[in-house]
């Protein structure tokens, strides 16, 4: 276990938060924690122990009660966090003891229970991150720590932290305590297990022995014996019994044989008599069958007679059949002929009908031809008609246009007129103006410039009154096309000009309109003429053609229809002629066949009649009256055969039975019926006796075999027992040895621990020797006492005596304890599978040393190779401050303590 970083908050004298980083100290073999008394040096170790175990380093301080800093603010929780490494794994543990804390809401404090957490962390994680949570909760964390470290708090305080005043613990511990620690530090479970295994196996072996004994007893019991000796006697007895039994059996066998013979003989006699009875019975039975067979014989004779006429009869049947067939054929042929005739008639009729259509066909043909020739004309017709239609439409259109042109012309004329009027008016106006102008110049008596008169009765004067103005305006509006300008008093020459122009334009337009109209009219007339012409042509053409054909489409379809019809009719006619021919042929054939069948029938009939006669003759010859009788008498050949056989068999059997009866009578001559029953009984008795005897013998044999088998088993058991006993003895002895039943009164485990302790003490002694200037060595007390063997003694080279470790002075025992701790760490380090002790803390104790001893102790410590081990010393001895470069200084102030780290 190597501490990496310790963080204390509100713990002991540390009011605030103190962080102590051990990693820079790791390069030095030794570091010093110094400071004034009560500043908080031991509190650092307390914090270490508290973090791990929830206890503090000195047992004199109660668990948890007063670790909270008295200077701490109520909102600062007491908390200790330790990062430490175990081998390659890094962990962080944090504890908060039970404490009062300020309520989050409201006044006062509330009690908060103890808390603990354990994380596993990667050393590369930043300090703020805790890592993966392994356990939380006081009890679980405690358990896990114990499992991880392998030490309880008390043991920790003996080997890793040597607290103030208690460094002698390990030195002074008794064997039992020391054993516990060593067991924890070195894994000696194996030997404990060996002890246990020996015990178990010894017990098992004893059990097995017991079992063997039981089996032997069971074996003997099964045979009703007490001892193996009895077995032997039993065997002997058995042998004797078997002898006796064998001879008994021989006797009985003889008896049985005799009885059997007698029985056999009796049985023989009985059998013969029985056979005779049987044979006679059988003969009787057969004789009874005689009449039946007689009858059969008769029947057979008759049937044989009938058989003679068989061929004739069969021939007759044939003829009858043939005749029948011929008749049928004739009937059929007649029917066929009739049918054929009918069909012939039908065909003829049909043909007639078709022939009637011939002229029509002709007609159709002609029409077709004609229509075909007319087809081009019809086409023309169609075209013309179409053209006519078009022309009509155009004329209509033209007429309409003509109307429009008329209107246009009218309007043009009107406008011309208007323009003229306008012009005239303008001219008049102008004239008037001139007149007016002139009139103004008129003077009475002066000649008028115009006419020369000297009197001026009515000179022109302004007459541009409203009415004229309006008229002018209206005119202007009317003949907009002429664009007559608004008139003033005297129309301007421009206006006049304009009016003239307008007039000209209007006239031009009028002309145009007229021309247009002319043109239209001309066109119309043309078209109408054409139309006329066409109509005429049409009429002429149509005169040639019948109405249905006047149109191309209709004509075409008519043509099509006619063609089809023609074809149909033609075809029908042809078909009718063909079928008629066919029908004729059929009729001829049918008639021919009829003739044939008739003659055939005749012949068949004749033949039949002939055969009938022949057969009748046969019947009479063989004594039958008619066919029916004959038929009744007839029997098939197999039947006859069977009857024949049956009869002969019966005869045979009868003969045999007679012979047999004779034989049996001979054999049983003079024989008496024996008493087989009695003889049977006798024989059975004999047999039973024999059997019993045999069984008995068999049992005896079995028993002998069993006994022999048992003897074999016993031997095997004895051998097993022997081997087992040896093993059990060994196990017993070893087990006893291992559990302390030996001259040294030491168990195996204790022995192993003692040897381990020896090793530790060697390492420790080496150090102690140096530190005590060659004077002291640590030794193990070798005592033959159960529960002992791990006590420590110190050998004083100056006196050559060994004495108890407790006799060392304060300073000397400090050196011894230090050596022991270092030696222990050395050995644990060197062994594989042991706990790793990478840290050692020594709280005070150096003050008990004089300068020389202090020098030596320090030298020894300083010469230690660091080997990754962290050794911390807490001391107030000022000398140490000078000598040890790596220091943790604890500074006490009024408000609590804080830490400063110095690394050389």
């Amino acid at each position: 276990m190597r501490p990496l970083q310790l963080t204390m908050q509100a713990f002991g004298p540390y009011a605030g938060r103190q962080q102590l980083d051990f990693t820079p100290l790791a390069q030095h073999p030794l570091f010093l924690v110094h400071g004034p008394t009560g500043a908080g040096k031991s509190s650092i170790l307390d914090a270490l122990c508290h973090a791990l175990f929830g206890e503090v380093s000195g047992s004199s301080r109660e668990r948890g009660a007063q670790v909270r800093s008295l200077w701490a603010r109520p909102d600062t929780l007491t908390e200790v966090t330790l990062d430490f490494a175990l081998g390659d794994a890094c962990y962080r543990i944090r504890r908060r003891p039970a404490q009062q804390r300020a309520k989050k809401r409201g006044e006062g404090t509330t009690q908060e229970g103890p808390k603990a957490w354990l994380w596993q962390r990667d050393p590369s994680l930043p300090m703020e991150e805790d890592g993966t949570l392994l356990e939380s909760g006081e009890r679980r964390v405690d358990e896990r720590i114990e499992a991880l470290l392998g030490l309880t708090a008390a043991q920790f305080r003996q080997v890793i932290v040597l607290p103030q005043g208690e460094f002698r613990r390990l030195l002074d511990a008794n064997s039992a305590e020391r054993q516990k620690i060593l067991q924890k530090l070195f894994d000696t479970r194996l030997h404990a297990l060996v002890e246990q295994a020996l015990k178990e196996r010894a017990a098992a072996a004893r059990g097995q022995l017991q079992e063997l004994r039981t089996r032997r007893k069971a074996l003997l019991d099964a045979h009703g014996l007490e001892t193996p000796a009895a077995l032997q006697t039993a065997l002997q007895e058995i042998d004797r019994d078997i002898e006796l039994s064998s001879s008994a059996i021989e006797e009985l066998e003889k008896k049985e044989h005799l009885a059997r013979q007698q029985l056999e003989q009796a049985r023989e006699v009985a059998r013969k008599l029985h056979a005779l009875a049987d044979a006679e019975r059988r003969l009787q039975a057969l004789k009874q069958q005689a009449p039946r067979h007689e009858e059969m014989q008769q029947r057979l004779k008759r049937a044989e007679q009938a058989a003679a006429a068989q061929p004739a009869h069969s021939a007759l049947c044939e003829r009858r059949k043939a005749e029948e067939q011929a008749r049928k054929a004739l009937h059929a042929a007649e029917q066929a002929a009739r049918k054929s005739r009918k069909r012939h008639q039908e065909a003829e009729q049909h043909l007639q009908q078709m022939r009637a259509n011939a002229p029509r066909i002709e007609q159709l043909q002609q029409d077709i031809t004609r229509l075909e020739s007319l087809l081009p004309q019809i086409a023309t017709l169609d075209r013309q008609r179409h053209e006519m239609q078009q022309l009509r439409q155009e004329c209509h259109l033209l007429e309409q246009r003509l109307k429009q042109d008329e209107q246009a012309l009218q309007s043009a004329r009107a406008s011309t007129q208007a323009a003229r009027e306008h012009l005239q008016r303008l001219q008049a106006a102008l004239q008037q103006a001139h007149a007016l102008a002139l009139s103004l110049t008129l003077q009475d008596g002066a000649p008028c410039p115009v006419c020369g008169a000297t009197e001026h009765p009515a000179p022109a004067h302004q007459r541009h009154d409203q009415h004229d103005q309006q008229a002018i305006g209206a005119t202007a509006r009317q003949s907009e096309t002429t664009q007559a300008p608004a008139l003033d008093a005297a129309p301007s020459p421009q206006a006049l000009q304009a009016a003239q122009q307008a007039l000209q334009q209007a006239e031009k337009r009028e002309e145009e309109a007229r021309q247009q109209q002319e043109r239209q009219r001309r066109t119309l007339e043309q078209k109408q003429a054409r139309l006329q012409a066409l109509t005429q042509t049409l009429q002429e053409l149509e005169a040639h053609i019948i109405p249905q054909w006047r149109e191309e489409k209709k004509a075409a379809s008519a043509l099509e229809a006619m063609r089809k019809q023609h074809a149909t009719l033609q075809q029908a006619l042809q078909q009718a002629e063909e079928s008629f021919l066919q029908a004729q042929q059929n009729l001829q054939l049918a008639q021919a066949r009829l003739e044939d069948t008739k003659s055939a029938h005749e012949k068949a009939l004749q033949q039949r009649e002939k055969q009938e006669i022949r057969f009748a003759e046969q019947l009479l010859a063989t004594g039958f009256d008619d066919e029916t009788q004959w038929l009744a008498a007839q029997l098939p050949a197999e039947e006859r055969q069977r009857m024949h056989e049956s009869i002969s068999t019966w005869h045979q059997q009868l003969a045999m039975a007679q012979a047999l009866a004779q034989q049996a009578a001979q054999a049983a001559a003079g024989l008496q019926q024996p008493d087989t029953e009695a003889l049977q009984g006798a024989w059975q008795e004999a047999e039973a006796a024999l059997r019993q005897a045999r069984e008995h013998h068999g049992r005896l044999l079995e028993r002998r075999q069993a006994l022999q088998h048992a003897a074999g088993q016993l031997q095997k058991l004895a051998d097993e027992e022997h081997a087992l006993r040896e093993r059990a003895d060994d196990l017993q002895a070893l087990g006893a040895l291992a559990s302390g039943d030996n001259p040294a009164r030491i168990t195996l485990e204790r022995y192993v621990l003692a040897t381990l302790l020896e090793e530790v003490l060697l390492a420790a002694s080496e150090r102690l020797r140096v530190m005590s200037d060659g004077r002291y060595l640590l030794q193990r007390r070798d005592e033959a006492r159960r529960g002992g063997g791990l006590e420590l003694d110190v050998f004083d080279a100056w006196t050559g005596e060994t004495r108890a470790v407790q006799t060392l002075s304060g300073g000397e025992s400090f050196l011894a304890a230090l050596s022991l701790a270092l030696g222990l760490a050395d050995v644990v380090q060197a062994r594989s599978g042991g706990m790793r002790m990478d840290a050692l803390f020594i709280d005070e104790g150096f003050g008990a040393l004089d300068a020389d001893a202090l020098e030596r102790a320090l030298d020894a410590l300083l010469r230690l190779q660091s080997q990754g081990r962290l050794i911390g010393i807490i001391s107030h001895v000022p000398e140490l401050r000078e000598r040890i470069p790596a220091r943790i200084e604890v500074i006490a102030t009024r408000h609590g303590s804080h830490i400063r780290l110095h690394t050389g």
């Binding site: 192993v752 020896e758 060697l762 002694s765 200037d773």
Partner: protein
């Protein structure tokens, strides 16, 4: 210029339980007389005046008296530097005041030290005192993190010294320092200057000065140069001064005042008296002083030693007694002290050998469980394991191992 060079007084030292103050006083008495007679221009004490940072009062008193006598009875400049045993601050108490009395106490580290200039007939001699400082101290004083080893510190110091000398026109120069210089032989009583051993300083750094007066190693010796001159050969504590002229090296350890460990039993402790001429040539004379008790080793069987005491000229000497008896010896020390009252250390080679043998024979990491069981059996019954028993035990062990493997799998 005549100089007395001494070092490593270690006043207040406890030698195997004995306070040596009386012995030291005895020798220092002779030293003062010597100084009075020789009339040196300078007396250099090259460090480790006291044995501890806080020395016992007798030691302080002794030093005070000695200093007083030296000041009163000579006209020499006393140049005293602190060593690794001294507390720089305590030793340098009232240094400025003592300056006026020709006592130059230089204990604190200064990166660019000023010399003590002593004039003789041929001119000034610049004497640079370089008190001991560990690299950490030098680092924090200079604020220079590159000073990791003693060699670095001396490089810096001596560079500055050379600059000063150059500025002053390169007068004759003497350095006094407290260090481990490569090539020097150490003994048991020197405290290591740094843990992990990188304390040695190459002698090349000290070349170019008239004389380098070193302290720290307790054997009087030159560094480099004439081997013969290094002979502090074993022999009686004679009073004859040896005249060794013109050694080829200028770096010298004065050696400790007394023998401070049994490894120094063969040293010949002396005070170094040297003459520096105008041309910076050095001539040395070693002057031995007579201690109250010599430090010796005696070896032999107990009875032998007891007998020898009767005829020994100095049975009071501080002794390391090596008892060569084999087998246990009772009350060895008691009996020895009857004859030799100042046996300070007892060695039993036989015992050591025994212990080492036991250590060698036990090699637990490599003992198999079966061998352990075998040992147990043999120890308990006196017989080795029979084959059947061994087979049984092997079987049990295999079983246990297998179930352990299964459990952990």
């Amino acid at each position: 210029m005549r100089i007395l060079h001494t070092a490593d007084w270690h006043l207040g030292r406890i030698f195997h339980g004995r306070h040596l103050t009386q012995d030291q006083a005895h020798v220092l008495e002779q030293f003062c007389t010597l100084a009075r007679d020789v009339r040196p221009d300078a007396i250099i004490i090259a460090g480790d005046v006291f044995d501890r940072a806080v020395p016992p009062p007798e030691a302080v008193e002794l030093f005070g008296e000695t200093l007083a006598r030296l000041v009163q009875e000579t006209t020499a400049h006393l140049v005293i530097i602190g060593g690794n045993h001294d507390s720089a601050v305590r030793l340098g108490f009232a240094a400025p005041l003592l300056q006026a009395a020709r006592v130059h106490l230089r204990t604190r580290f200064v990166a660019d030290p000023a010399p003590v200039i002593i004039d003789d007939a041929h001119g000034p001699v610049h004497l640079f005192p370089l008190p001991y400082a560990d690299p950490a101290q030098a680092r924090s004083t200079c604020g220079d993190d590159s000073l990791r080893e003693h060699a670095d510190v001396f490089t810096l110091l001596l560079n500055n010294v050379r600059c000063r000398l150059a500025r002053s026109g390169n007068p004759r120069s003497i350095i006094t320092a407290h260090a481990t210089v490569l090539g020097g032989e150490s003994s048991e009583s020197e405290r290591p200057l740094s843990i992990g051993g990188a304390e040695a300083v190459p002698p090349a750094l000290f070349h170019g000065f008239g004389y380098v007066a070193l302290g720290h190693l307790h054997r009087p010796q030159w560094i480099g140069g004439n081997a013969r001159a290094n002979a502090g050969g074993a022999g009686d504590a004679g009073k004859a001064a040896e005249d060794t002229t013109l050694p080829s090296s200028r770096i010298r350890y004065a050696g400790s005042l007394l023998k401070y460990s049994f490894s120094e039993a063969d040293h010949r402790k002396s005070i170094s008296l040297l003459e520096l001429d105008a041309a910076s040539n050095v001539r040395l004379e070693e002057i031995t002083l007579t201690p109250l008790h010599d430090v010796r080793r005696i070896s032999g069987r107990l009875e032998e030693l007891l007998a020898r005491a009767k005829t020994d000229p100095a049975p009071d000497d501080y002794l390391l007694a090596e008892i060569t008896d084999e087998g246990p010896v009772l009350d060895a020390l008691e009996r020895l002290r009857d004859a030799w009252p100042n046996v300070l250390r007892l060695e039993r080679p036989w015992l050591t050998r025994m212990v080492q043998q036991r250590a060698a024979s036990v090699d637990h990491a490599r003992i198999t469980p079966l061998q352990m069981l075998e040992a147990f059996h043999r120890d308990m019954t006196g017989e080795p394991l029979s084959d059947s028993r061994r087979a049984l035990l092997q079987d049990i062990l295999d079983d246990i191992l297998r179930s352990q493997r299964e459990a952990s799998a």
